[in-house]
């Protein structure tokens, strides 16, 4: 039987899902974190909605420092407690992460 792969994006999606699924067993992330990662992945790949992924990428692009750890914790806690399938909650989260990215930059510049 000839097996053809749909395309590279699809393959990348399957690989990412499998990779995320393996992480809790290795103790790298918790199961709750696994669910959030799945939601973000589906948002980007299946719903073509990369807004949240973009602001998170911007946030992560900033280097970490002891002064910014509190901001990191706030973003993570908000991310974990939000219903990412809900557009309104997602919009609130996007605004919050954008604001906190600016705050993180400000703290880094000060420090």
């Amino acid at each position: 039987m000839i097996i053809r792969r749909k395309d590279l994006a699809s393959k990348a999606y399957q690989d990412l899902v499998a990779m995320i699924a393996a992480l809790p067993a290795k103790g790298v992330i918790s199961e709750a974190e696994e669910l959030v990662l799945f939601d973000i992945l589906d948002l980007v790949v299946k719903q073509n909605d990369a807004d949240l992924a973009h602001v998170l990428a911007d946030f992560l692009a900033e280097e970490n420092a002891p002064d910014t750890s509190e901001v990191d914790e706030i973003v993570k806690a908000t991310l974990m407690s939000s219903q990412l399938k809900d557009q309104k909650q997602r919009d609130v989260l996007i605004n919050l992460v954008s604001d906190l990215t600016k705050e993180k930059k400000r703290l880094l510049e000060q420090g």
Binding site: Q14, D15, A21
Partner: protein, 452 residues
Amino acid sequence: MALHKPANEILVDVESERRVLSGMLNSEDACIQACDILKEEDFYNPLHRTVFNLTSDLYRKDIKPTYAELLKEAHQMNLFRSPQEISELSYIAEHFIEGENIGYWISRVKERARLRKYEVFLRHNYQKLMEIKQESVDELLYQAEEELTNLTTLDIDETVDAPPVLATLGYDEVERRYMRNQEIKQLYKGVVPLDGLPTGFDSLNNITLGYKPGDLIIVGAQTGHGKTAFALHTARSVAVDNKINMLYLNTEMSRTQIALRWGSILSGVEHEKVRRGELTSSELSEILQGYSALRNSGFYSYPCPNLTPEKTTSITRKFKVQKDIKMLILDYVGRMDKMTANFAEWQILEQIVKTLKMLAQNLNLAVMCLVQLNDDGSLQGARRMKNECDLMLKLVPITKEELAEKDIYKKFKDVNYRVIVDKNRDGRSGIDVLINFDKERQIMKDAVPISL
């Protein structure tokens, strides 16, 4: 001598099972078809059964069953933790082929499941053969034949009803109706119990006993004579007043137009005023209350200007799976896209009507289909349509001359329309139901007799 194929090769097709599951994780159409046709036990591989169950459940909950969603669901149930299971899932998810004929893979899975049942039949009957007593040969063969007949019918879940089974079924059904009738006569003082969904008219309820699952109801009217009003009146009775889930497919009106109609129907405020926004504050408040009833109703609307019979089947199956709808209203059939360009109009109508009848029976739904009457009140392809349907209604306005001439109309306060029951498979036909149609408010109701 030819070598025998290993039994597993004949009875199991793991690759087809994977293709079906992969399709379900990537295509809504595949999901609809698989949920409709397959059952958990049609899959041989236990992991495939679980994947099928989880995927179907997600789809029924209106969650797009992606690979990630499947794993989320599975992990919450502590399933699919081993590397072997993850590897099999990964294989399934990544081997989806766009545009592939999912029907082919579903039929292969179904066929292997039937072969496995056949194998069980053979084993079971071989065992019986080994234990047979001389006097029970006829009985053994009769039982085997009945079992085999059930296996060879197209749908393996259908069984052939033997005379005693059918007689018991008939008796139980009559007894159930008798008991219910007695009970309702006592409770509701003579109001006839319905077998199906309420029609929205007491007089039509009495004649039809409601729109029943599996029924195809054809409603004909000339242009501008209340087809959509009748459809929405039915929808109000089923979905708003009784909160039963139903699907409304409209080929002519936009979402906004449908929403505005509801404002008028549910508030009793004239439609033109609603349309123009020329409302008093109390009318606005009534309209808001009306929409609140719609918000809590079971009315699902799908405006679709280029509806085809295939799309109708697909969307109806989807809503059956996800919302357990009990009724489909198609408003209206004349605007459906043609399947075959070189067909005559009546042939196309016949095909559409046949499709709708099959849909009603297969999904156990009441399907109402609105059609347009010719200027002379006749229906194109009427005989063929009449053959297919269970109930044919014609909505006809009563002229001023008729109102003045006919005594029967003088016995009612506000009659201005009649619903002709042209065919009624389960009851009386050739009779008129007299109604009032308030065009300004798009509201229909039973005509009220003048009390003597």
